[in-house]
Subunit: 194 residues, 3 copies
């Protein structure tokens, strides 16, 4: 099983995943998953190709090289997923100054062949509240109070996830997690994972 | 003409189709269409491949076999559509416990090459009301009162339909049919069919 | 740079582009772009293939020919874009009697390989107000007061743009321009162009 976890920054992906595993333990359900992050896997892939030494260098590579790295990471993750269960932390789409870019463009998606893509959604207000707490992070501070932006990003993520599913047939699990519904969201995720 | 009819369960696809044909008759417009259901065509395709005898067995086939069946059904429908007009009843996306899956993933879509995909939409309240009436069906009973779920499924269907159109250039006709607008919806469908 | 500008009719594409260039001039930022319109390029491509003499004839060509023309135009634009910066005016989706069709179906998109796709959005009320002013145009007059239709078209455009991005990895820049925000919208576009 290769489970791809997506959601806008601050929606609470890791919280829901953690809670789902706690629930599994309480219910004596054995979940055996390795956690991977697509960004980390890209860095590993770039290093092994001898292209970069540090994460910051990746952005300055020519776009063709960046795609090669993305694809390399996808191939490696798919190979790992043939042997064990993986939860892959990544983005449905990434907000950049030039616009939204897909976290899994065709050349990644066709290699990755995820078994399910989870799209975690919440109310923009809740996401915003979470982001505000995280004041140590400059990037996030700039983003606060941008409720319309959060709503737009979530709508974009859902649309792009549906496009992903046409390429690979992968089910798209939308989990709705407004404030106060963490237990239910974790339960829904657990049903997907077990 | 291969017209694909989609819409969430309970939105009233067959009602609108029936009404469109009644209108055609009153106006002396000759509509010559054969009605097919994608699920039925898949079963037929699976039987002819010697893979199953009953519908229930299809779900337990390995995923690769299921895809082969889907593709086989699509090829057969396309062949038929080259000789006559067909209205194909299917889903833009199907809600499963693992998430939304595409009714026409790439390997189906590229064979099917529909001439138009109709997406029938209504207010969640109206869909819900219709589903409640249909109390003989356990599946549907479980679904009642899930207005947010209906809204989400409709939004997902519209997104996925737009992704379909990029692959094949097929026009996506969204028909909006809230309660009380059956005549207009049927009229709009008639314009597509004639 | 090949920048594709999209937005529903009446959303104010040319106004925002013009304002962005004015801002650039004031700030002494040199923008060197050629403006192209996809429809014009298709006509040019059709003429050079000897298929038509006038724009009106294009619609009566067989669909396969139309696709060839679209592809021809895309190839030519891509070739031009390798030498200079281009702003391409086109549609994310086009509303036709048979439904929404993609402005950049797969066979166009894979040749065009845009560097960024801008989706200009506004409030349906503002779009409608603009369309009403333009009363000399019969097509537009018919469309007035159709707020739900404008909203649906904008939602469809955003979905289809996200599907485009999966094929090519192209960033999708959604620019939100309700009444009174022309300066900000132009500023955002300028950031994309420079």
């Amino acid at each position: 099983m290769l489970v791809v976890m997506t959601g806008v920054p601050g929606v609470g992906k890791s919280t829901v995943v953690k809670k789902a595993f706690e629930k599994a333990e309480k219910k004596d359900i054995k979940l055996d998953y390795e956690f991977l992050n697509f960004g980390d896997m890209m860095l590993k892939s770039a290093k092994s190709m001898g292209l970069v030494e540090h994460r910051d260098e990746m952005r300055s590579l020519p776009i063709e090289k960046q795609r090669e790295i993305q694809k390399g990471a996808a191939v490696e993750i798919r190979t790992m997923a043939d042997d064990k269960n993986i939860i892959l932390d990544t983005h449905a789409s990434i907000e950049t100054p030039k616009g939204y870019i897909p976290g899994m463009p065709e050349w990644v998606l066709r290699e990755l062949k995820p078994d399910v893509i989870v799209v975690l959604e919440s109310r923009p207000e809740d996401v915003n509240k979470f982001r505000k707490k995280d004041i140590g992070d400059d990037f996030r501070r700039r983003e606060v109070d941008n409720l319309e932006g959060i709503e737009r990003h979530q709508s974009v993520n859902r649309s792009i996830a549906m496009a992903y599913s046409v390429f690979t047939g992968t089910p798209i699990k939308v989990i709705w997690k407004p404030e106060g519904t963490l237990p239910q969201a974790a339960e829904t995720l657990l049903e997907v994972l077990k």
